[in-house]
Amino acid sequence: MKFINSLRSEILKIKGSSLLWLSIFGTLLIPIALTIRNIAIGNHLNLEAARHGGWMQEYVRVAEPFVAFILPVGAILICSLIAQVEYRNNNWKQVHTTPQSYTRIFCAKYTVLFLLTGLVFLLLLLGVFILGALPTLILDGSFPHEGFPIEALSKELLKSFIAMLPIIGIQYLVSLRYANFLVSIGVGLALFVGTILVVQYKYSFVSPFSYPFFYINGNMPDLDHRMYKYAFAYFLLLTIVNFILYISKRQKG
């Protein structure tokens, strides 16, 4: 119950902030742009195509640019903003003088981060549905209600979510560690751009930002099926390091 209350207080902190709008706008940007394009050029998902893998094709069209580019940049911004909510008005001292354990504070904030990420993936699912359904509804006057592969799409979303975890791990660590917003953004963008340059390299898995690219490419150099295990283990390691750094910080506000 205490954790739920801490979580509710953390959720209240982001109410009306740019975080929520950033997540919604950032996620729906590509599906909506593609939907408008499809309507404009008369491209739509007919019933036959919907029954035979058309939905997955729509997903791939959205997922490729989204997972490779928008999601990493979004994760950089969201992690930074979660920490900045406290840094901006020197609120850490207020947070750390409330009767909450450091573990509870750390976990409540992390949970908000995952709730936002969960929202992003739900919106992505909605975006794929809009992309498939809306042009068909407008152009055909019918609804491609058949064949929406909710199970297969959920599986894909889970895989892309795991591929994202190392980015969340590193960015949350940097954002909690440094009060200056520019440090976390700078580190994130530098790693992101650096990863793009070396993603084909054998050891590129060292970069937390490489896993979304592996997801898009369908494999990881030489490691293939172990990619998700690596991503999850990397995330766990970063989280443990982050937690130790957080609780052992000499000045807490």
């Binding site: 207080s9 209240l12 109410k15 609120n91 207020q94 409330t98 000045q251």
Partner: protein
């Protein structure tokens, strides 16, 4: 019983930066305790250590009878604080800011309205805290500190940014909380005049050491002992000799009058008798500095 008990508290930010050099301090339960000192004396560091905001290096801190190392959460459930600048979420209203803390403290929803009324912010509605004036923000910080009905209130320079009316209101509020609810209040300031009207006890801290600690009345007695007296007579030269003859060494002649340091009221009366019996006409006897500023300066100067 003491609400705060500090023994041998030392803290340094670096090898040669010993900000606290072994503080011993006791805050009696039910008191309004002033923590005084110049900027950089170590007041805020002491309060931050008390609240666990910085890691203790040496010494012992007991709050409400418990160790801050072992019972941090239990202690913080009964402590309200305001350290340095006010903390709040600028994109939220005052009610939303308080709601965040109400959830964490687990206190009644009704407390939000009560504390907003108490600090005069009940009519701010949906206005974002970022649009508040500095005084309003300071009052909101007090409301936050009071939300969970704390036994102990720790306020670091709470009158910063308040106008004279705001300062008077704040004083009245703190007095009321102390008298009616029995809240122990620790209030730090570098301006003695600001808090001398409400404090019952105080500690003066300078260069990381406590140079005075006790009841406010004890400091007032000390003040009388250290007061400067101006004595104006028909013959300053002879007056000076007579006073020195009585064993006073801090005697100066300033603009035809005598300036005497370190004499209390009884001693001044004795000097007056001696002067009159020596045939010297005494025109004026006057104690200078009726506030605590001079004693504060003397204590920190000696240190």
């Amino acid at each position: 019983m003491n609400s705060i008990e500090i023994r041998g508290l030392k803290y340094s930010y670096g090898k040669d930066d010993n900000i606290l050099k072994g503080i011993d301090m006791s805050v009696p339960k039910g008191s309004i305790f002033g923590l005084l000192g110049k900027n950089g004396a170590g007041k805020t560091t002491t309060l931050r250590l008390v609240l666990g905001l910085i890691k203790k290096q040496k010494g012992d801190i007991q709050i409400l009878g418990k160790s801050i190392d072992k019972s941090r959460i239990e202690i913080l459930q009964n402590v309200g604080s305001l350290i340095e600048a006010p903390s709040f979420y600028a994109h939220l209203s005052a009610i939303e800011n308080l709601k965040i803390l109400q959830l964490v403290y687990g206190c009644a929803d009704s407390r939000i309205g009560e504390v907003l009324n108490l600090v005069g912010l009940a009519n701010t509605g949906k206005k974002k805290v970022g649009q508040f004036s500095l005084g309003m923000k300071q009052r909101l910080s007090i409301a936050i500190a009071l939300l969970h009905n704390p036994e102990l209130l720790i306020l670091d320079e709470p009158t910063n940014g308040l106008d004279p009316n705001g300062i008077v209101e704040m004083r009245e509020l703190l007095k009321k909380l102390n008298e009616e609810n029995g809240v122990t209040i620790v209030i730090s300031s570098h301006l003695l005049a600001e808090i001398e009207k409400i404090i019952t006890h105080l500690a003066i801290i300078d260069h990381g050491e406590v140079v005075f600690q006790g009841k406010y009345s004890e400091l007032k007695n000390l003040k009388q002992k250290n007061a400067t007296v101006i004595i104006e007579t028909e013959d300053a030269g002879r007056t000076s000799e007579i006073i020195k003859g009585l064993g006073f060494s801090e005697v100066k002649e300033v603009a035809g009058a005598i300036q005497l340091e370190g004499a209390d009221k009884k001693e001044v009366a004795a000097i007056n008798k001696q002067l009159v019996s020596s045939g010297i006409d005494v025109y004026q006897l006057k104690f200078l500095e009726d506030d605590l500023e001079s004693i504060f300066i003397n204590l920190t100067k000696n240190n």
